[in-house]
């Protein structure tokens, strides 16, 4: 999911940087003092997540966790993912500094979109079932949408949108399921132990808008 240096044209890099800055500003504005620690913890989870390889069949894939970050943080996923991606670029050479904006936007915005889907499903289906289904969809959608957005960024290279999207979605299909399950278990665990953490995510849009 990390696009490397030197693949994208300056126009795409610039657009990605602008969108990432806008998303991060929005995320920081909506960020409340009490949730800052949560943002840090999820940033750390995202930072380490891509080092965890899940063996599936003959191959293995690494976690992205942007769906989980999005579902738990909403718009605050942007600063959280930006910090993690910056450190991944500096320390692991995943992605790079010039592509930081594009990578932040593809993974951050996918997280935010899956947060909206998560909230929508929770409104439609109340109770534990709704929570589980919503969290699973949120986690899985995070990866799927990130793949689509990454393909969109690659649309202006030699590869083209359709090839890239097909390859990325195909490669990440098992990860979608794994992350859907991870998000489902994490969210239902938090709902049992620290329900206020989820409620805050819900309250945040009407209050700050």
């Amino acid at each position: 999911m990390h696009i490397a240096e030197g693949v994208l044209s300056p126009a795409v890099l610039g657009a990605g940087a602008v969108l990432a800055v806008a998303g991060t500003a929005l995320g920081l504005r909506r960020l409340e003092y009490d949730r800052l620690i949560g943002v840090g913890i999820l940033s750390a989870a995202f930072f380490v997540g891509s080092l965890i390889h899940v063996p599936i069949g003959l191959a293995s894939a690494h976690l992205v966790l942007n769906g989980l970050v999005g579902v738990l943080l909403g718009w605050a996923a942007f600063p959280s993912i930006l910090a993690a991606l910056l450190l991944q670029a500096l320390l692991f050479q995943f992605g790079g500094i010039t592509v930081l904006g594009v990578n932040t936007f593809t993974m951050g915005f996918a997280g935010v979109l899956s947060w909206y889907v998560y909230r929508g499903i929770r409104r439609l289906v109340p109770g534990t079932t709704g929570l589980r289904v919503a969290a699973f969809c949120g986690g899985a959608l995070g990866v799927a949408l990130a793949a689509v957005l990454t393909a969109l960024a690659l649309a202006f290279t030699d590869e083209g949108f359709q090839t890239a999207a097909g390859l990325l979605l195909g490669a990440h299909a098992p990860i979608m399921v794994v992350e859907g399950l991870i998000t489902m278990f994490t969210v239902s665990f938090i709902a049992r132990v620290r329900p206020e953490m989820l409620r805050m995510t819900h309250a945040d849009t009407p209050r700050s808008c």
């Binding site: 990390h2 840090g40 750390a44 930072f47 003959l58 692991f92 050479q93």
Partner: protein, 209 residues
């Protein structure tokens, strides 16, 4: 209970489907970055590309550039992620090389070989034909009794050849060393950074009224 069994049954089916899909396209890249390293092997440059250990880049596009940025040659990696090409005339003119691998889906990386790396090679190869042509008959006339008479250049060529055979695996090892994955220090350091950023955020948020 029914919802859980429904969910788990659905999850099982999804996992089975994705495993089938993954086996179908096992060659698909599932990595955050692609590694490339190249080393001198006699008169040719060997290139090796991988996503991780035991995950070679099959059919990736290799492009070789000289110092001025002009394309020298192009090729594709084999099933082991290897590609090798003879050291071209450009290098003999004192140029270094920039070798780029593009593995698709935004995975790209480069490896630089400085002109200095070819320094030992260039003069030896260039002078070899002239050395073989001119002085050899002259010397054999001068010392007919000796079993084998070697000119300084011939000796140098033999020593260089033997040395090259011994050095090639060492060079590969050295080049491969630079492409190792993230170390524990990097991971722990990154987590420390995130903690520090959260601390800073908390500090500044607290000072705000």
């Amino acid at each position: 209970m029914t919802t859980i069994s429904f969910l788990s049954r659905r999850a099982c089916r999804a996992v089975a489907l994705s495993v089938a899909l993954l086996l179908f396209c096992a060659d698909v890249a599932l990595a955050h970055r692609v590694n490339i390293f190249a080393w001198l092997e006699g008169d040719s440059v060997a290139v090796e590309c991988s996503f991780r250990r035991n995950a070679p880049v099959k059919g990736g596009t290799i492009t070789v550039f000289d110092d001025t940025g002009a394309e020298v040659l192009r090729g594709t990696t084999d099933a082991d992620g290897r590609f090798s090409f003879p050291v071209s005339q450009v290098v003999r003119k004192g140029h270094g090389l920039r070798i780029r691998i593009n593995a698709g889906e935004g995975h790209q990386n480069e490896w630089r070989m400085d002109a200095a790396e070819f320094a030992g090679l260039a003069p030896a190869v260039v002078t070899a034909p002239t050395a073989a042509a001119a002085p050899v008959p002259a010397r054999t006339d001068a010392q007919p009794e000796q079993l084998v008479s070697l000119t300084r250049e011939e000796l140098a060529a033999i020593v260089n050849g033997a040395l090259e055979r011994q050095l090639a695996p060492l060079r590969r090892e050295l080049a491969a060393r630079s492409e190792e994955g993230p170390r524990l220090q990097d991971i722990v350091g990154g987590l420390g950074w995130i903690m520090g950023l959260v601390g800073m955020g908390l500090y500044f948020a607290r000072r705000r009224p």
